[in-house]
């Protein structure tokens, strides 16, 4: 498990370095993700200890953004004033997003892809 964690921290550090030095618009961890993905595609398999750590992270991913989301206590007055409008925007927007991506797939699928 430590070996998997070391690999992740290595790619994360590489990503942060590249982000700082070359690509400031890209978050370091995303560059790390892209590098790790490229490395996995080259070696054509996932090392078992990396898989162990990655699966642990995926399973409890939600926990990791709780501390940042709790910061919502700092926005309570604004959210009280605009909460319903914001909820309406998110609701319409996500329905439109799902509809748009589904509609494009339906439009572009070859006949043999259809059930």
């Amino acid at each position: 498990m430590i070996a998997g964690l070391v690999q992740i921290l290595l790619f994360q550090s590489l990503g942060e370095l590249i982000s700082k030095a070359l690509l400031p618009t890209l978050p370091g961890p995303v560059i790390g993700l892209a590098l790790l993905l490229a490395w996995l595609m080259l070696r054509r398999s996932v090392p078992p200890t990396l898989a162990l750590v990655a699966d642990g992270f995926s399973r409890y991913l939600g926990l990791l953004f709780v501390p940042a989301a709790v910061g919502v206590v700092g926005y309570l007055p604004e959210l009280r004033a605009h909460g319903l409008a914001l909820l309406a925007v998110l609701l319409v927007s996500v329905a439109a997003t799902i509809a748009a991506s589904a509609w494009v797939l339906k439009l572009l699928s070859r006949p043999e892809d259809k059930p």
């Binding site: 618009t25 995303v30 993905l37 910061g71 927007s93 991506s101 589904a102």
Partner: protein, 241 residues
Amino acid sequence: MTESASILDVWVYLSGSPLFALFITLGAYQLGLLAYQRSGHSPLANPVAIAVLLVAGVIQALDMPYATYFTGAQFVHFLLGSATVALAVPIYRGLGAIRGRALPLLLSLSAGGAVSIVSALGIAWWLGIERKLALPMLAKSVTAPIAMGIADRVGASPTLTAVYAVITGVLGSILARWVLDWLGMKSAWQRGFAIGVGAHGIGTSRAFGISAECGAYASLAMGAHGVLGAFLIPALYRLAP
């Protein structure tokens, strides 16, 4: 020393150390997971939403400033970067699902991503919602760990981005069925991909509950939306007037 004074001493010690913030964060998330399991995996009983409400309630009740809470909870927050890098593994596993469908999938993702941004900012502008509250909607359909990195790069609040992303995931998971039925979508892979584009991780775990194929495509969509969003959203934001 009286008993109440010693309890106060213990409290002062605990609330000043990271232990208390870590305890309520993990405890609240555990309660959220229990509620999610008890509800038969209802999207409305989202463990993150429950944990955020519980922790926010506790620190408000104790009059604990958010900054004090975060000093302790930052150890959990710090892992977000590593978790983002680790997303390479599920994305790599999902690559097999592309199988000659790369172009329709890429166009579908681009359409979904564009509609997500334009519809959210457009309606927010039309409703007169101020910029500070509207800008974090840019990345709301991107998986939260990556969305918060994007928010950071465009000067939007990572907190509101995470909150919008969770609400979007919950709403998308609930609405997807009706939207997709209404459009007459039948094949599992198309349904799964559309759910992943709109409702990222929360939609993906819902899609895995429908079928493995549906989940695999949702997972692929979530990963691709994350990576593409991280490349394009800050770049487009710089070009925008």
